[in-house]
């Protein structure tokens, strides 16, 4: 299956050096979303690597498109500026939902 990278120029250059063929250099989240849609059209897509800074504002939209699909996997990576501060740690959020407050249905 194919690996795709969506990111800024340095990220795509780096991954291209590592042998990833399907790289998309984008400047804005909107552009990233458009590329993401294009990637989703292919059945062969196995993994999409996207920088956190781009993913931040289109995360919900991406997740909606991925619902009911087991592939591709999407992974967010820090770009050359390093990891960004998140309001909620996504892992902690998962923990809270999985083992946190018991939901009671009356």
């Amino acid at each position: 299956m194919r690996i795709s990278v969506i990111g800024d120029r340095d990220t795509t250059t780096g991954f291209r050096l590592a042998g990833v063929e399907d790289v998309h250099t984008v400047a804005s989240p909107e552009e990233a979303m458009q590329k993401f849609r294009e990637i989703l059209k292919s059945e062969d897509s196995g993994l999409v690597i996207i920088t956190e800074r781009l993913a931040e504002s289109i995360r919900e939209e991406m997740e909606r498109l991925l619902e009911k699909r087991s592939f591709p996997l999407v992974v967010e990576i820090p770009d050359k500026g390093g990891a960004i501060e998140r309001k909620v740690d996504p892992l902690n959020e998962l923990v809270r939902r999985a083992v946190g407050v018991e939901i009671k249905i009356e």
């Binding site: 299956m1 194919r2 690996i3 120029r9 340095d10 250059t13 780096g14 991954f15 291209r16 050096l17 590592a18 042998g19 990833v20 063929e21 196995g46 993994l47 690597i49 087991s70 592939f71 996997l73 999407v74 992974v75 990576i77 820090p78 770009d79 050359k80 390093g82 990891a83 892992l91 998962l94 923990v95 939902r97 999985a98 083992v99 018991e102 939901i103 009671k104 249905i105 009356e106």
Partner: protein, 215 residues
Amino acid sequence: MAEIIEGVNPTRMELLKLRTKVKLAKKGHRLLKEKRDALIMEFFNILEEARGARRRAEENLERAFKALMLAQTSLGTLKVMECAYSTKPSPGIESYTRSIMGVRVPVLELAEVRRGVLERGYGFTDTNTQLDEAATRFEEALEAVVQLAEVERSIKLLAKEIESTKRRVNALENVLLPRLEATVKYIKMRLDEMEKENFFRLKRIKAMIEAREAA
């Protein structure tokens, strides 16, 4: 007091049927609870792994970006990009699924991405070791990122499964079971009531017959 299930006839047959239903619901409840607990344990095991994988990927990427910057300063951004686009593409990933407590999670297998200097495909007369270093670092980072993707997806799927199992446990515990039990109680009461009525009726009739015979 939970409400009773509507439309049941207070008969002995219904009572028996309901009792088996209660038994089944209790068994299901116990099994689901066990499943939930096992899932949560599995979840915490993977959680540690996920935190480690993220840290590793971030460290690897940081090193890779530093190496890339060095290559860019020594060769120029354009030259680096040119080289990047002339590298041979490496094969993609293979994927399988694995089952953790019945949850299908993906396993990604990355073909060998670490390559020697000669295998990359860019010329080496006008490039330098900084570029090779950057490429090596990004190959390492790619491995770490692929692993991260796999673990993060697994943990998300597990969390989802835990949530739905929990919901089912709660639905059984707080809705279905009380309702079934209330209905059982209601039918028992009605049956007792009917029995009492019948008994009294028999007594009355007996008294009437005796009175007639005495007359």
